[in-house]
């Protein structure tokens, strides 16, 4: 099964932005479950786009004004949800933010 781990946090999570993953990525890559991922620049650097009737509409900032913002994501591949939970729980961001585990659409 493939899952994306959506790493979310409130403003205070920004302090951790430059900390990296404390060896998590290396460990998971070695284990063979990490397929990709990245940390994201803060929402203040985001641009939101829509195309309506052929016109490109842009706005500054993130799509959703919410406390919890997406701060990064990882693509993993593992046996089942239990393994995904274990992988996500080992991520340092789980200790200060939240991690949403989303299965990918199976094509």
């Amino acid at each position: 099964m493939k899952y994306v781990l959506l790493i979310c946090g409130d403003e205070s999570a920004a302090e951790h932005a430059d900390e990296g993953c404390g060896g998590w990525s290396e460990k998971m890559a070695e284990r063979g479950v990490l397929r990709g991922g990245a940390g994201l620049r803060p929402p203040s650097d985001a641009t939101t786009l829509r195309v309506r009737e052929g016109e490109v509409l842009l706005s500054d900032g993130p799509f959703a004004e919410s406390k919890e913002q997406l701060g990064g994501f990882c693509l993993i591949e593992c046996a089942d949800l239990d393994e995904a939970i274990e992988i996500a729980a080992a991520h340092p961001a789980a200790a200060y933010g939240t991690i949403e585990i989303r299965p990918l659409i199976d094509l």
Partner: protein
């Protein structure tokens, strides 16, 4: 009288439904198909057993019938062909192994853990456990939880879909996950039990069956996991509460508090079973919240008269429970026990300290307990106020009537 074949199918349904569904899910990986085939197998049993007699091992007969039905259904659909090869492969291996092998986890155990996976919402876990493991119909479950049938059908469908799409594994969690997963299973069973147990006579009778279902499922769990003291503790707790069910309500459907209950109505057999189970499990020396609660229930259940109750021991047990699972409700119960063991003033001091914290604001049992202690201290006017406050907060008619009676008795 029910004809013997109907009775046999009925009994088989209670005893074997969960096992048949659980096995079919493992073979096919398809929850809906498993339920459908189990249903068909029971319908077939009703016809065939009438003609040929009840088989020696009804469970094995039903599992085979359901399996044949699954093979039939899969053969009919194009996408079933690949699935069928998988199923056939599993079956060959199992037939060769001769089935009931020791050390192979019971399929029902996989089913319990999957239904109660913490990635599912609590209400979905409860509904799914009742549907797939206990074999209750969607209509019955909807009635028991006072929701519409369609809403319940949707809840069940959504839960099954999540299991499939999110990759919730169909297995008993490995040992290192058990400490966090077993409590989720026990919580579902206890919630089921309480839903049934706290139902009053005015409410739907279906809810009473929930307590029986919960006990039946807990028995299965204890049989399957004999080394888990908390599973046995939960079963003991349920038995000790359930033993008192006949004495809990009077003819008018009003609540009868413990000290006023007709103890002759208590189910002595169930109490003895609960106590024996608890003693055996406490000897393992791994106490947990359910065992401690069962020990408290045992103190009540084994007192021949209310005045024989060992309140000092109960106060100690509540203090212990408070350390295991800190909660203001547990503290309130401890205060009541202290009030019984060491006098109302000692109890009131604890209740008032708890009241100061505001943690139980809006909970009717706090003013009710206070009222009782004030009454015993002769502070009648304050007791009356507290009873009135409690009545204003109580959720059910039976509780309000009880509090009104206590208020009237103050004179």
């Amino acid at each position: 009288m029910t004809p013997p074949v109907e009775a046999a199918v009925d009994r088989a349904f209670r005893e074997e439904w969960g096992q048949v569904v659980a096995t079919l899910i493992r073979w096919t990986g398809d929850w809906d198909l498993a339920e459908e085939c189990a249903q068909d197998a029971f319908a077939l049993a009703l016809r065939t057993w009438r003609r040929d007699g009840v088989p020696r091992r009804p469970g094995a007969w039903l599992t085979t019938a359901a399996r044949n039905r699954a093979v039939d259904l899969l053969r009919r659909e194009a996408t079933g062909a690949a699935k069928l090869r998988e199923v056939a492969g599993v079956l060959r291996i199992e037939d060769a192994a001769g089935g009931d092998e020791p050390g192979v986890p019971d399929d029902r155990l996989r089913l319990i853990f999957t239904c109660c996976h913490p990635a599912l919402a609590l209400e979905a876990r409860v509904a799914l456990t009742l549907r797939t493991l206990a074999g209750l119909g969607t209509t019955e479950i909807a009635r028991a939880f006072l929701v519409g049938e369609q809403a319940m059908a949707k809840r069940l469908a959504r839960a099954k879909q999540k299991i499939r799409h999110a990759g919730i594994p169909y297995r008993v969690p490995p040992a290192h996950l058990l400490p966090e997963r077993l409590p989720a299973v026990l919580a579902v069973l206890y919630l089921l039990f309480n839903e049934g147990y706290s139902a009053t006579a005015g409410a739907d009778l279906v809810r009473h069956d929930l307590a029986d279902e919960a006990i039946r499922l807990a028995r299965v769990l204890v049989r399957l996991m004999p080394d888990e003291p908390e599973a046995a503790g939960l079963l003991a707790l349920m038995l000790l509460h359930h033993a008192r069910r006949a004495a809990r309500l009077d003819e008018a459907g009003d609540l009868v508090v413990l000290e006023d209950q007709e103890r002759g109505l208590w189910d002595a057999g169930q109490i003895a079973e609960g106590v024996a189970l608890l003693d055996g499990t406490l000897r393992r020396g791994r106490p947990g919240p359910y065992q401690v609660q069962a020990a408290i229930a045992a103190c009540h259940a084994t007192a021949a008269r209310p005045e024989d109750t060992d309140w000092a021991q109960i106060a100690v047990l509540y203090a212990r429970l408070s350390r295991l699972v800190p909660s203001p409700v547990v503290e309130l119960n401890r205060a009541v026990a202290v009030g019984m063991a060491y006098g109302p003033a000692a109890g009131l001091a604890l209740v008032d300290a708890l009241r100061e914290t505001g943690a139980l604001a809006g909970y009717h049992l706090l003013p009710a307990a206070r009222a009782d202690l004030l009454r015993r201290l002769g502070r009648t006017a304050e007791a009356a106020d507290a009873y009135r406050e409690a009545a204003g907060l109580a959720a059910t008619d039976a509780e309000r009537r009880y509090l009104a009676r206590r208020l009237a008795a103050l004179g």
